[in-house]
Symmetry: C2
Subunit: 343 residues, 2 copies
């Protein structure tokens, strides 16, 4: 061993991403029907003509969350890899359907699946990924995971899939409401984003045979990080890192992002009228976005949301502390939290 290396080497997020990707390949590569080409496209492996080498950036955060929990619990990544692929496919199914539902023409800087193949086939692509996620997780057995653990893993995944559907339902419903509260938003976020990250981290520890308190700590950690990621995403929609970026379609289409929900809820009648003046339009224009941002900052909505992200991240770390994690285990989770929440 070279003396300049630490005793334990923590896998990097890039390495874990590659590991998830390799497992996804083993799930998909044997499948030759054109149905699976849409999945390969969505996963960023191919362009619409089926040619490899699409250069776009594409995270595997859900699968990585699973492997992070596995490593954190002292497990072998090979064992948890099928669960990681499964959670990633579940997230992919939800993304493909979200794009149809929201009419988003773009995903990861190129045409969304439905924009390329039409909404009807995109629904099939999502349904197929949903079914494939399940078949992927059964591969746990080949890695020596005991049947009762695999069984529990499949149920965990199914419960998370259903929670995800409930959250997506609430999210769409929220767009029709004029009185959305921060509480209702948080309930939606817990289902729409929290549940699948909670499932990912829970599975990562569960399948390598971690003790119940460790599995539960990972679940709590994932739930907190997931909600933090959703709020972080909402902040980025309103205040993109690149100051010169064009306002996002979600902002222009008046999506009920948490800063807006919070600011409208706490606004007095005078401020509510100012929001009304902006939101009166069917679609916002760039100038409206400037006014909106200013109003939100005045109301303390940006700071409030940043505070929530920080608090959820502390909660995530706290859950691991309480379960008595090793420094190495905590470090890999912390490194993932940084990648997920962008610091």
């Amino acid at each position: 061993m070279r003396p300049d290396l630490p005793m334990t080497s923590i896998p990097t997020i890039a390495e874990l991403t590659e590991r998830v990707d390799a497992e996804l390949h083993t799930v998909l590569d044997s499948r030759r029907m054109p149905l699976y080409r849409m999945m390969s496209y969505h996963l960023g492996w191919e362009d619409a003509q089926g040619e490899p080498g699409y250069p776009g950036a594409r995270d595997r955060n859900h699968g990585v969350a699973c492997l992070v929990a596995c490593h954190g619990a002292g497990g072998d990544l090979d064992i948890a890899a099928p669960a990681a692929a499964s959670v990633e496919l579940t997230n992919g199914f939800s993304e493909v359907h979200d794009d149809v539902q929201g009419g988003n023409p773009q995903r990861f800087g190129r045409d969304a699946v439905w924009w390329t193949w039409g909404p009807a086939q995109a629904i099939n692509a999502g349904d197929g990924m949903h079914a494939l996620a399940r078949l992927a997780i059964f591969r746990l057995e080949e890695r020596g995971v005991p049947p009762e653990t695999t069984f529990g893993a499949v149920q965990t995944l199914d419960e998370a899939s259903l929670a995800l559907c409930e959250g997506r339902f609430q999210d769409l419903e929220a767009q029709e409401r004029i009185d959305l509260s921060v509480d209702a938003y948080m309930e939606m976020a817990a289902r729409k984003t929290g549940a699948l990250y909670a499932c990912a981290m829970r599975l990562g520890a569960m399948v390598v045979g971690a003790e119940d308190p460790v599995v539960d700590a990972m679940r709590l950690c994932g739930a907190s990080l997931g909600v933090a990621a959703q709020i972080r995403g909402d902040l980025s929609e309103l205040w993109p890192e690149d100051d010169d970026a064009a306002p996002s379609p979600e902002v222009l289409n008046k999506k009920k992002l948490l800063p807006v929900v919070y600011a409208v809820e706490k606004a007095n009648i005078h401020t509510k009228r100012r929001f009304g003046d902006i939101y009166f339009k069917r679609v916002l224009e760039p100038d409206d976005v400037t006014s909106l941002r200013q109003l939100l900052e005045e109301q303390g909505a940006r700071d409030y949301c940043r505070g929530l992200v920080a608090r959820r991240r502390e909660e995530a770390a706290g859950a691991l502390d309480a379960a008595g994690f090793s420094a190495d285990g905590a470090a890999v989770v912390e490194s993932f939290a940084g990648a997920l929440l962008g610091d």
Copy 2:
């Protein structure tokens, strides 16, 4: 026992339908979110306002197929009921998405889910039913089914769900092709309709501990009956039982029904031109449908398809014969085949 009753009483299709329905209620009744109201609506329990008592006819053929196989294998219906509910929910998910994909405004004589709640929420309703189908099947364990059997049942369901997605993909793709062959149609039908009926009947026997040859006979029986049901459905679209019924939207929209696929494939150049004259239009008119029906009958397409339905039905009965079924077991399957294929 009353002397006028036979020794063994064969459950009627109506009784089995009620049994599936009761199990579906136990899966859904505890769920209160509005997401589940769309499912209750699709299942025919409620109207769009959530009031009970919708009078429309609504079969439970997939669930019934499962219970038929269970009874045929000499099993207890209570044990197979969770599997029956699960297959029925899988079929429901597919129907809800099919209606969005095909833009069908009506289903079972009333507005389709997407027509009532919009396509975005209908996608969520279908996704939720897909996830719920899985959770429903885990209830097998509560009925005393051994874990390894439940495990096999879940995998059987997942494989059928994926085959269903593949079949729906092929069905949509077929609509874009001008050279669809009977072989390609049959491959699509085997996946789109055969796979889920095969799964239903296989599960019905498997979960009550039937021997492998019985389970396999039920699978073959379901696969044959499913394909027969699809062809029977195509015939009904073109030649409805009620002679005065308006032509179906599928016919007007030039859906590639098997009689059409067969007739076009076997037509000589002169007859192909006559089809071309009819199909030249974007949407057919009632007069075109009359010409189409006549041309199809001339080409022997109606008789050919009726022959296929009869042959598949014989195959289904043959599979049971080969496995040495009791007269009672064969009778209940035969009664189901009659209900499914409409005699």
